[in-house]
Amino acid sequence: MGDSLLTEEVKSYIGRETGPGEPLVIEQGAIRKFIEAVEDENPIFYDAEYAKETWYGDVTIPPLFLLTNMKSGTALDFDILLKARRTRGEDEVEILEPVRVGDTISANTKIVDIYEKKGKSGSMMFILSETVYKNQFGRTVMISRANIIKHAV
């Protein structure tokens, strides 16, 4: 059905790191666009008075906000397989400290593993990565782990 996708070049990405990427300043306008897409009216995402009385302490980002909003420092910095269709297989987010409007966040990502499976529709490559997000004080605020799937086309 074709050669393995796990060439030496692909395997050389395992263990590689990228970042810190372009920092992202957390802005209310960007949060608004996100919550409008999921129609989430939770006041922690726009009401400072309300948010002050929560764990977050101030207006905060939705938990998934950073996953795809970082422009660099993520697994997508690596172009591991060209001519492939990309989907997410698994996501994990771990929130350590609140992220608030006005914070500046930057991301570092490590490719943890790459493996292959042959399915009905052809070969699939699985890229496991771990991303650490730090704020302007150098504190780790969030960690995300992803399993990104590439279907060769």
Partner: protein, 163 residues
């Protein structure tokens, strides 16, 4: 202002929405293992919603908005992004947790495809509760199911409550 916009959007696009409001405050002491989390129903999902997601989440993978490309790549339609579904689950969990709660962890396994026109039901159940480094934590498992009865996301979450 945001609330009325969201209300207008709901009416204008005739969405089936249930459980979108923050629930009456629950407390760690009162949470029982096995109890259900108030479910969230969202849909029918429109391509407009997916475009808003692309802009709001910064995810411009064309399989989520470019019909012609999606079909060329062997997909039946543009597909609903996994993180979008995870974000709906977060909405359900934070509504349930209320003002005194916070989300500590979320894990999602994307098992199936959903497409525009689908209606998704998010359901959760408490599976454990414990104290971790002075934080009172409740562990849940959840599913997201479409109107065809297919479970397209499975996962777990940890919600913590202050004292």
């Amino acid at each position: 202002m945001l609330l009325s916009f969201a209300g207008f959007l709901s009416q204008a696009t005739d969405l089936l929405e249930r459980g979108g409001d923050i629930q009456k405050q629950i407390f760690f002491e009162g949470v029982e293992i096995g109890v259900s989390i108030s479910e969230l129903v969202v849909g029918p999902i429109t391509t407009e919603r997916l475009v808003r997601w692309a802009a709001g989440a910064g995810d411009f993978n064309p399989i989520h908005y470019d019909q012609e490309l999606a079909r060329k790549l062997g997909l039946p339609n543009v597909i609903v992004p996994g993180p979008f579904k995870s974000a709906l689950v977060c909405r359900m969990l934070l509504n349930w947790a209320g003002k005194k709660g916070r989300l500590k962890k979320l894990k999602s396994r994307y098992m199936g495809m959903d497409v525009p026109g689908d209606t998704l039901t998010c359901r959760g159940r408490v599976t454990d509760k414990y104290v971790d480094k002075e934080e009172k934590c409740v562990e849940c498992e959840y599913t997201v199911e479409n109107q065809r009865g297919e479970t397209t996301v499975k996962g777990m979450a940890v919600v913590c409550f202050d004292s």
